[in-house]
């Protein structure tokens, strides 16, 4: 499909969405037209999923991945000088075989102090591959994943409209993203996939809009969030499913197929949300004339949401309960794969919340159900998930709070990867991190403030680095100058100017996911700003992210 055709289709859609057609056609007619306009859903034969791990608050990735080299600008000394008391030691910690359970040596343990463990040292796992970057001591599983080629690092990624330099910023000629350093707007811009657009729908939402027939038109759609209803997965005409982790809830008093009173209530509920319905027992039946549809936009918004909620849980509850997964793999402590280790297991004084772990456990099950078509759509091929971990806004108490967050991130990623391997989906699933922004290299006494560029992680594949799969064990991008007031400092607090756009990273993932070249500019409109070879969109992708 040419760009032009695509553009025309988008314009047509916009006209439709402008409301002119809504009244005349009704939602069903509108949907039909929409599908005609966008009848471009590719016929995928394989299953693939992307999993976004969003770290809300702005992860301090400079203490997650520590520069270990000797360069005076990008190396360890420059980092330690900028970070002061918050710098992680340049001490190589022994990783061993990755087992951390009873009888093993805990490499980061330091008297049970979270702060001491956090600053104790790092795993220079990538040095063998030529990258001077060490993994924080509290993330042994991440180090293991990197050394086994099941994860890679993308250095100094951030929200960009185009490449900018310190000189350009000082001269006030650089095109900067809107409202840098403000949490909500940076999250938003990363999720719209456009640093200069806070108002558009999300990039994953645009994919869902572009593939209306995905998964055989299943009610499940393309996008599922365990991270709340955030912009990334929201489309102009597609709405992510938003769940809480764990077994899906069952609705009280309105689900038992054998009880006519339950069936009657469901029928009434549907009649009151505008869906004509008849109870299975036939006790009550509502024809179109006695169903309640409101012309009020708020009421119809709420009705369609509550009707979908009922239907989706009807679908999922059955499938979920019939789909048992008993993992034989254990986690790094030798415990049940998705269990949450206690603080004594961890050798820390604080607890990890376990929220990310439980979300990833649910995603793992959803992926298995999707890949095996437990929802019986007859063709379940693509899914995008969003999970999150919060509290990364470590302005204070960073040395006691950040280690717990990194610990959970490391465990969560590793548990999820292990699950994907055991279930046979490792090469079908790519996970990646996002966060509001990075944090200042300078410290404020007991924490760090809002900044910009940050290192991010991509995880997946089976470690064999076979063609088409994630190429693990590497660092893409460029390590920044980490000196305060240095060449990559936005001003004078060590807010690092990114050298790779999050859009580039995400577009590279989406290309693997099956977005074709024609659709890509719709998903990432600014991607063309990052080409290194004029007019060649291919040069904007992160080469080598996938083998």
């Amino acid at each position: 499909m040419s760009n032009n055709t695509l553009k025309n289709r988008r314009d047509f859609l916009k006209t439709l969405l402008a409301g002119g057609a809504t009244g005349a056609l009704g939602s069903v007619g509108q949907l039909a037209l929409m599908r005609e306009a966008m009848a471009a859903t590719p016929a995928f034969s394989d299953y693939k999923a992307m999993v976004c791990v969003f770290m809300y608050g702005g992860n301090d990735s400079f203490n997650m991945l520590i520069p270990t080299g000797s360069d005076s600008k990008t190396g360890y000394n420059a980092y330690a000088e900028s970070r002061g008391d918050l710098s992680v030691a340049n001490t190589a910690l022994p990783l061993g075989d990755g087992y951390l359970g009873r009888g093993s040596l805990n490499p980061y343990y330091d008297g049970g102090s979270d702060a001491a463990a956090y600053l104790k040292g790092n795993y220079p796992m990538l040095q063998g591959n030529g990258f001077d970057l060490g993994v924080n001591g509290v993330m042994p599983e991440l180090a293991q994943l990197l050394s086994q080629n099941k994860a890679s690092v993308v250095a100094n990624v951030g929200n960009l409209v185009e490449r900018v330099t310190r000189a350009g910023i000082k001269a006030e000629i650089a095109r900067l993203p809107l409202f840098l350093f403000a949490h909500n707007h940076q999250q938003r811009a990363l999720q719209t996939g456009q640093g200069d657009n806070l108002n558009d729908v999300g990039w994953a939402g645009r994919i869902a809009d572009s593939w209306p027939e995905i998964n055989n038109g299943s009610l499940m759609g393309l996008n599922i969030s365990y991270a709340g209803s955030d912009r990334m997965l929201i489309g102009a005409n597609s709405n992510p499913l938003v769940f809480s982790p764990g077994s899906p809830p069952e609705i009280y008093d309105m689900q038992n197929e054998e009880w006519s009173s339950h069936q009657d209530r469901i029928a009434l509920y549907k009649a009151l949300t505008g869906v004509s319905n008849t109870s299975a027992t036939g006790d009550v039946s509502f024809d179109q004339s006695s169903t309640f549809t409101s012309s009020d936009p708020f009421k119809s918004l709420f009705s369609s949401a509550s009707n979908r909620s009922l239907n989706i849980f009807e679908l999922i509850d059955k499938a979920w309960n019939n789909h048992d997964i008993g993992y034989s793999s254990k986690d790094s402590y030798g415990n049940e794969l998705f269990s949450v280790p206690s603080s004594s297991d961890l050798g820390l004084s604080g607890n990890i919340g376990g929220r990310l772990i439980s979300q990833l456990e649910s995603v793992a099950k959803m992926i298995d159900m999707g890949a095996k078509d437990a929802f019986q759509s007859g063709g379940y091929k693509r899914q995008i998930f969003m999970v999150s971990l919060g509290s990364f806004d470590t302005h204070s108490k960073q040395e006691t709070e950040h280690p717990l967050l990194l610990r959970e991130l490391s465990l969560g990623l590793s548990k999820f990867q292990t699950a994907m391997e055991e279930l046979g989906h490792a090469n079908k699933v790519t996970s990646f991190t996002m966060s509001d922004f990075g944090r200042t290299l300078g410290n404020n006494g007991d924490g760090t403030d809002h900044a910009w560029g940050a290192h991010h992680l991509v995880m997946g594949g089976d470690g064999a680095n076979n063609a088409g799969n994630l190429m693990g064990g590497q660092m893409l991008g460029k390590l920044p100058d980490v000196t305060i007031d240095g060449a990559d400092d936005y001003s004078h607090k060590g807010r690092i100017i990114p050298t790779t756009a999050q859009d580039q990273l995400n577009a590279s993932l989406c290309r693997w996911f099956g977005i074709d070249d024609a659709l890509m500019p719709t998903i990432f409109p600014n991607l063309g700003n990052f080409v290194t070879s004029s007019g060649d969109l291919n040069s904007a992708y992160l080469d080598g992210l996938f083998a």
Binding site: S229, N239, G390, N444
Partner: protein, 725 residues
């Protein structure tokens, strides 16, 4: 609505009847209309009105006056609505005809619909008593009464306890063996997680407002509602340790919001900035001046969010809340969509210097922040030695904020805090920023710019030269024509789930379940509402948002073509996810069934004491609702005997029909202000009529209870209930 009609009609009358009388220029006595009254003294030059009657004593006699009684309604319109053209208050109820929706009914000023709507905007849910008060008093008088209602903050020692006082009372009752005052500060050494849950219990008590003995608690519904709205602007949350263990701090913070709800926003900002809870939440507690040897500079957290979220926002606004693009906030509208940032990185670093030197009172060492340190119920203390003076960097001790320079040690406390707050409070943006937030929380998601502008101008000046008068702002919001006249399609909002739940508790007369078992597994607790972590099921709970950006952002556009194409927002839909819609539905079930008195005692035949003893602090909720009124109405409709509901020898089922209508009518009035649409009623009626008899094991009391329960549940989970117009 009436105003517009009145103007149209009256101008028509003036044109036809009172055209110029100056056409004649004769010097003789002129009597143009020949009514015996000379033009020079005739109050109607072209109308024969010998008696010169002039009801309102204005320049025009009744004969040529389009509004005889000068009540703002034209004579023609008064005749249309059945009011007297000659009396400004036809029914003599103290409400002028203009403001009286029922001008011929001396017992009522407002219709049920209007009264109900006002209560949705001003309380945590309409009750029948309140509806009739509002109907009788009219909107203005009722709001005025609420604005001047006594609160917990008038006098220290009375029965109206503050959130903090009541929390301490509950803690002692629920855990009598705990040494709450191990230090002089309540809960300091204890730092118990349960205190956060007691804070939640107090919140519910003040929101539900139906405690059988603490009758004053929650009687100030509007104050509590505005406090909740403010808690979503000046956000703090248990998500930041150790606030999850220092619930007394949360209660005190909420008291601060409630105390200033009708006070001045500047005073509120001053207390908020010095609040230990805010200090801990946005980390200016323990913030220190720069130390070049250690390479540290002040923490920017509070400085940044104070500007972005609490006062001025990211870009310049007109008074009406639209982007200011011509550098004049009082001129609008303007075309284009250029956003001009209000502050830059330098303003942040300068303001971060101001926000140093503050720490918890009674802390063992400056900046300590673990669970058992300090006092969370008194303002933070200022330590000048930790306050930025720019000595390390060789600066002049002056900072510049948004172009205004002041000394870091300015002000009575030498902290520079008030100088900074004054600048932000007086910034033009503060008016629309605060006003629009309150409008969106109380009244409508998409206020017109004109509405925002009208309220902002009251924020700017309450009419007596005072800026930031929240009482005047709240009154302006609620009495605005946009809030009070017929709602258009784009007007209104989806209810916040926790408010929808509170409304349900109120309309079901929820009282504490006496005798549930406390933390210590022994103590029975009496008189305490228990619903400890509502956010699990509702996606929100007071002082428990996931971040300083609240439960939702004000610019949340739902994925819906009507909203998206018009740029309309519906923030509450962000948390009404697939999951919370279902879990809300299940909570409604708990409230209407599991914790409903008639179900427990009448259907399950269990004593309340036994039932309470099965409930412990670990339960999701423990309280007691009732359907008494509905069951009484059903019983009456059934001729006093519920057995009549299903008399099989009476095929027309007249009693069942009457009972079904009675229960629908009752909850229609209470829950929907009588606005249930016909198809909605038809569906509900069909269900209640057909789903009968055997569904209830032929137990007629159960049938009555289930009729009430299903009616409430189906209404409460419907769009008719969940959308506030």
């Amino acid at each position: 609505m009436k105003n517009t009609l009145a103007i149209i009609l009256s101008s028509a009358l003036i044109l036809s009847a009172c055209s110029s009388g100056t056409s004649s220029s004769s010097t003789a006595i002129v009597d143009s209309d020949n009514d015996g009254v000379s033009d020079s003294i005739d109050n109607c030059l072209n109308f024969t009105n010998t008696d010169q009657t002039n009801s309102d004593d204005d320049a025009f006699g009744d004969a040529c006056d389009s509004d005889d009684d000068n009540d703002g309604l034209s004579d023609a319109e008064e005749l249309l609505i059945g009011a007297s053209p000659q009396r400004s208050d036809t029914d003599g109820d103290g409400i002028s005809d203009l403001n009286d929706e029922l001008p011929q009914d001396a017992t009522k000023a407002l219709t049920l619909k209007s009264a109900h709507r006002l209560l949705l905007q001003t309380t945590f849910g309409p009750m029948l008593d309140d509806i009739s008060s509002v109907q009788r008093m009219g909107a203005e008088a009722w709001i005025d009464e609420q604005l001047n209602k006594p609160s917990a903050y008038d006098r220290e020692a009375d029965d109206h306890l503050s959130h903090l006082q009541r929390l301490i009372e509950i803690a002692f009752q629920a855990e009598p063996d705990t040494n709450w005052y191990e230090s002089v500060v309540f809960n300091q050494q204890e730092a118990d997680f349960s205190v956060d849950e007691y804070q939640m219990a107090v919140w519910w008590e003040n929101v539900i407002g139906l405690h059988p003995s603490k009758t004053l608690h929650g009687s100030d519904q509007l104050r509590q509602r505005v406090a909740f709205a403010l808690s979503q602007l000046l956000v703090v949350s248990t998500s930041e340790p150790p606030l999850h263990r220092r619930g007394e701090g949360l209660a005190d913070y909420y008291d601060m919001l409630a105390k200033h709800a009708f006070g001045n926003y500047r005073d509120l900002l001053g207390e908020m900035a010095r609040s230990p809870v805010m200090g801990m939440y946005l980390s200016h507690q323990g913030n220190r001046k720069a130390n070049l040897a250690k390479g540290t500079t002040p923490d920017e957290n509070f400085a940044r969010e104070l500007m972005q979220l609490f006062t001025i926002g990211l870009y310049h606004l007109n008074l009406d809340g639209t982007p200011d693009q011509d550098g004049n906030s009082s001129s609008y509208p303007e075309s284009g969509d250029t956003l001009t940032p209000t502050y830059n990185e330098t303003d942040i670093t300068e303001l971060s210097k101001v926000m140093t030197g503050w720490d918890l009172a009674g802390n063992d060492g400056y900046g300590y922040s673990w669970n058992t340190q300090g006092d969370y119920t008194v303002p933070m203390e200022f330590t000048s030695s930790e306050h930025e003076d720019e000595s390390d960097e060789g600066g002049d001790g002056l900072v510049s904020l948004l172009g205004t320079t002041f000394a870091l040690n300015s002000g009575a406390d030498n902290s520079g805090m008030d100088a900074a707050l004054d600048i932000l409070f007086n910034h033009p943006n503060a008016a629309p920023h605060v006003s629009k937030h309150l409008i969106m929380r109380l009244v409508t998601s998409n206020p017109t710019p004109a509405y925002v502008g009208r309220v902002s101008s009251v924020f700017t000046d309450n009419g007596r030269g005072t800026r930031g008068d929240l009482k005047a702002v709240v009154e302006a919001i609620l009495l605005d024509t946009e809030a009070r006249t017929e709602a258009g399609l784009e007007f209104g909002k989806v209810k916040e789930p926790v408010i929808a739940m509170a409304q349900l508790f109120r309309l079901m007369g929820a009282v504490p379940l006496d005798g549930w078992i406390s933390q210590d597994d022994v103590t029975q607790v009496f008189g305490v509402y228990w619903f400890k972590s509502p956010s699990e099921d509702l996606g929100q709970a007071a002082l428990r948002s996931p971040s300083v950006f609240n439960f939702y952002q004000s610019d949340y556009v739902p994925s819906n073509s009507y909203f998206a194409s018009r740029g309309l927002v519906s923030p509450e839909m962000k948390i009404l996810t697939d999951q919370t819609l279902l879990t809300f539905n299940n909570l409604v079930f708990l409230a209407t069934e599991t914790y409903e008195k008639n179900k427990i005692t009448g259907v399950n035949e269990e004593t309340l004491a036994d039932f309470a003893a099965e409930n412990s602090y670990s339960r999701k909720m423990a309280l007691l609702t009732n359907t008494d009124e509905a069951i009484a109405l059903i019983t009456d409709a059934a001729g006093g005997d519920l057995e009549n509901l299903e008399k099989y020898n009476v095929s027309e089922r007249p009693y069942k029909i009457a009972a079904t209508n009675a229960v629908i009518n009752y909850y229609n009035a209470l829950m929907l202000g009588g606005e249930m649409e016909d198809t909605f009623r038809a569906a509900l009626y069909e269900y209640l009529m057909k789903s009968a008899g055997t569904n209830y094991n032929n137990n007629n009391f159960k049938e009555a209870q289930q009729m009430a329960k299903d009616t409430i549940r189906m209404i409460a989970t419907s769009s008719a209930y969940m959308v506030q117009k």
